[in-house]
């Protein structure tokens, strides 16, 4: 039966191809990629979800511009507590004699009342700090670290890879030996060495330094792309037309390598957020009094049996962010992959089977 199906599929392939080609007629490469990406359902859901999450996270707490204690002015957040505030610990109606349990009520109407946030939706920590505020602050740090590492690594990796691949020769040799020096040591080790010494200088500085060591994998990929692309005719054409090296690199070759770069950077970013949490967990990342998701988990992992909410919420935020980035990366990879054909809907397939193209149907 399986074989029979396969034959039918092969017969249909030509028709399906016709439909797929019809759709891309007269579109630029960018438009095709964009359309493909829009159609990737998981990736689109992830984009929307991640964007919403980032907005929620960054508007939750007060932004103090200027001096920390006496700010010039404050942009108020939507949440009433800051991550340094210490409201009274809630003692009443917590399960099993614990304190500071979450007041969130997500079960609608089953227990008599509707959905409500309550005073401390995610509960409180040992000294009464509101856990929602802490998690928001932690997520802010983690997302910040993720983007800084992503941007620095993307810039460095692209530029260094491009230079090495384009100029080859001794420039390439030197740059690639530098890559070898860094890439042989597992990234968590470098991260720990850096984090231990510079973690107290703040999350942004830590991310900056981590970014300086995270570009190696990307630069190898970019170099590989450049090595093949620089032999192509359009590069020769540009050179004959008198274009400078810089122009050839950035205007002619780079746009052709952008797919590889974008996909690799998204994956690098999802790795970065896990790296930051892992380092903070080990004590080599963001350190108290600042807050990060990994640090929260590390602090409260022993409280799991008694006060599991202290453990669940930061973890869920890490997973949500990393999962979104991974799905976006997957969507981008599919969108940039020239071999990727759109999976046709059932209706399209039925049309193809009857030998009709979409135009005829319409």
């Amino acid at each position: 039966m399986a074989r029979n199906k396969k034959e039918v599929e092969i017969v249909n392939e030509a028709n399906e191809n016709a439909i797929a080609n019809k759709e891309t007629e007269g579109l630029s490469q960018g438009q095709i990629v964009f359309r493909r990406f829009i159609r990737h359902r998981a990736a689109m859901i992830s984009v929307v979800f991640l964007f919403t999450l980032i907005v929620i996270v960054y508007t939750a707490l007060d932004w103090r511009i200027g001096d920390k204690d006496e700010p010039l002015f404050t942009i108020p957040g939507w949440w009433k507590y800051g991550f340094e505030d210490m409201p009274d610990l809630r003692f009443e109606d917590c399960p099993g004699g614990t304190v500071g349990c979450p007041s969130i009520d997500a079960v609608p109407f089953l227990d008599g009342d509707g959905v409500s946030l309550g005073d401390h939706p995610f509960g409180q920590d040992d000294i009464g700090r509101d856990y929602l505020a802490l998690v928001m602050r932690g997520a802010q740090r983690s997302i910040l670290v993720m983007f800084i590492i992503g941007i620095i690594a993307a810039t460095l990796g692209t530029v260094i890879g491009a230079i090495a691949g384009y100029f080859r020769g001794w420039v390439d040799a030197i740059l690639m030996r530098l890559v070898d020096f860094i890439i042989t040591v597992p990234v968590i080790i470098i991260g720990a060495v850096i984090g231990f010494h510079f973690g107290n200088k703040g999350a942004a500085f830590l991310a900056l330094l981590l970014g300086l060591f995270a570009w190696t994998g990307l630069s190898r990929l970019v170099r590989g792309e450049f090595l093949t692309l620089r032999e192509r005719e359009f590069v020769d054409a540009a050179r004959v037309a008198g274009a400078s090296n810089r122009r050839i690199i950035f205007k002619h070759i780079l746009p052709n390598a952008v797919g590889v770069i974008i996909v690799s950077v998204t994956l690098l970013m999802s790795g970065a957020i896990l790296l930051e949490t892992a380092l903070s967990y080990l004590g080599f990342g963001v350190v108290a009094p600042d807050v990060s998701l990994g640090l929260l988990i590390s602090t409260y992992q022993d409280a799991f049996t008694t006060r599991p909410w202290l453990f669940w919420y930061p973890g869920l935020f890490i997973i949500a962010i990393a999962l979104c980035i991974n799905f976006i990366g997957d969507g981008l990879r599919d969108a940039f992959d020239p071999r990727q054909r759109r999976r046709l809907s059932r209706k399209d397939k039925a049309n193809a089977r009857q030998g009709k193209s979409r135009a005829e149907v319409a």
Partner: protein, 514 residues
């Protein structure tokens, strides 16, 4: 080839030099071993600072100190390496050599399980492309990609160790659990096998009923309190293995192979009885070796007798079958040690350990109890590491197999009229394994590095612990020792991966050009 290896080894030395110089200075510049002393209010503070400065040569700038360290390391070429002393005046080499076996034990099983499971799921997923199972696997893999290992570890500790140990007190599976697990199993198999709706429903119901009966039987017979396999279960599983391995390896249409593997199942079951005596002897390790050698020899002989033509594949199939049955016998022997193990004072009916690498045994314990103890401590870290690392294998093997299946030679193979099994297992799977092997080997250093977190979570005393200690005590010699070890491992693994690639894929010629 030899010239290529030598050139690569030369590059290794250069790279190690560069990366160690970089990291030495990075960590030396940013550490201040004297900070603690400066803040102290000891009487002889000045003297202490002076002593430490002299001891660690802090009077020299880091680049110069690096060369002092390097001089000791370069002794490796004259047979007198000196990696320096740790802050506790213990040679760094000893500290690292002491930690390696622990880390290997931690990483080894997890890697194997991750590879086998990951490839199996990835390939199934590729063969069922764009089905619900495929989407489910993709989501599952991405979820695993996004999980922080320390977070998973805490969950595992709670639900697989503490709760499972609680469950073992009664060892009764409650009806909701039986139904829940059976539904899950039904969905899983129905999704894998797929087909028409009627077929899927039938499979689901069949698996559901079989699974329910199985779990109820396990629960009623108190199997979890007294786990055992015994000759009957080994015989049944053996026949299953015989069919499974034959199907995957040469196909069930090869009657000679099927006869051989079934014979192996029978011989394996019979060998259960003499094996007990061998395994209970004073030399259990030798016993294991003897058991496997005998099984392998018998399976070769059996295959030789049954298969007149094309002996190679049959011999291979029969060796795999008998080795798996041998493993079952070992598992059974370990299960026999279960009662003495859980009843002992150290364990006290809580066999699944949450931390540590073995329990402290005040008294001498039998060999198999010790093996079981190791196994019980391995379960959680292995699961955590497996969960984290096999997502990559799922994605990679799926992607590679799909690439391979699009190749022309696969179409040719199908056009020749080969069975789907032959096309997949012989033409597609083998070619999938080429890039997979190199990825696996290349991953090793990363996995060892990643074990740092796992060791911390589960309180194992391996490389990760050394590394943590080195950083926290500003122990530059120890730190450099660990880093040097890991980066050497990484480079060597890469070299091996490249060489393997050229061995597996004759199209690639290593060292060609230049």
């Amino acid at each position: 080839m030899l010239a290529y290896v030598i050139r690569r080894l030369g590059a290794l030395v250069v790279i190690l030099f560069g990366s160690s110089f970089l990291l030495y200075n990075l960590s030396a510049v940013s550490t201040d071993p004297l900070a603690e002393l400066r803040l102290s209010d000891a009487q002889n503070k000045e003297q202490l600072i002076l002593n430490l400065t002299r001891e660690l040569r802090l009077d020299l700038p880091p680049p110069l100190r690096y060369f002092i360290w390097l001089r000791g390391v370069l002794g490796i070429f004259v047979g007198n390496p000196n990696f320096g002393l740790t802050r506790e005046q213990e040679p760094v080499v000893d500290a690292i050599l002491g930690a390696i076996p622990t880390t290997i034990r931690l990483v080894f099983v997890a890697t194997i399980v991750a590879i086998v499971l990951g490839i199996a799921l990835g390939i199934t997923s590729a063969l069922r492309q764009y089905t619900r199972f495929d989407y489910g696997m993709t989501f599952f893999a991405f979820l695993l990609f996004s999980l922080p290992i320390f977070w998973v570890a805490v969950l595992l500790k709670q639900y697989l160790a503490i709760d499972f140990n609680d469950f073992l007190v009664t060892a009764k599976i409650s009806p909701p659990w039986i139904i829940g697990l059976s539904i899950a199993a039904g969905f899983f198999w129905a999704a894998i096998i797929s087909g028409t709706r009627k077929r899927v429903t039938l499979i689901f119901i069949g698996v559901f009923i079989a699974n329910s009966i199985f779990l109820t039987a396990l629960s009623a017979s108190e199997w979890f309190s007294y786990p055992r396999l015994g000759p009957i279960a080994i015989a049944v599983l053996g026949v299953g293995i015989a069919f499974g391995v034959t199907y995957l390896s040469v196909g069930l249409s090869d009657k000679n192979a099927l006869k051989t593997t079934l014979l192996m199942a029978a011989i394996g079951t019979i060998s259960y009885f003499p094996a007990q005596a061998v395994l209970n002897s004073n030399r259990p390790r030798l016993g294991m070796l003897v058991l496997f050698v005998v099984l392998v020899l018998v399976s070769i002989a059996g295959a030789w007798l049954f298969a007149r033509v094309d002996r190679g594949p049959v011999i291979r199939t029969s060796i795999i079958t008998s080795s798996l049955i041998g493993l079952l016998i070992l598992v059974d022997r370990m299960m026999q040690a279960w009662r003495p193990y859980v009843e002992s004072d150290d364990v006290n009916f809580r066999p699944v350990a949450t931390i540590g690498q073995s329990r402290v045994w005040l008294t001498e314990v039998p060999f198999w109890v010790r093996v079981l103890d190791f196994a019980m401590h391995l379960i959680l870290p292995t699961l955590a590491l497996t969960l984290i690392s096999f997502a990559g294998y799922i994605r990679f093997s799926r992607g590679t197999l799909l690439d391979v299946l699009n190749q022309d030679y696969i179409r040719t193979a199908r056009a020749k009229g080969l069975t789907e099994r032959t096309v997949i297992m012989r033409h597609a799977f083998r070619n999938t394994m080429i890039p997979l092997t190199t990825i696996m080997v290349g991953d090793i250093a990363g996995i060892v590095g990643g074990a740092i977190i796992t060791e911390r979570v589960f309180a194992w005393q391996g490389m990760g612990t050394l590394f943590n200690k080195a950083i926290n005590t500003f122990d530059l010699n120890l730190l450099m020792g660990v880093i040097l070890f890991l980066s050497t491992l990484a480079i060597l693994a890469n070299l091996v991966a490249d060489l393997l690639y050229s061995v597996l894929d004759p199209r690639i010629r290593v060292g060609a050009g230049k």
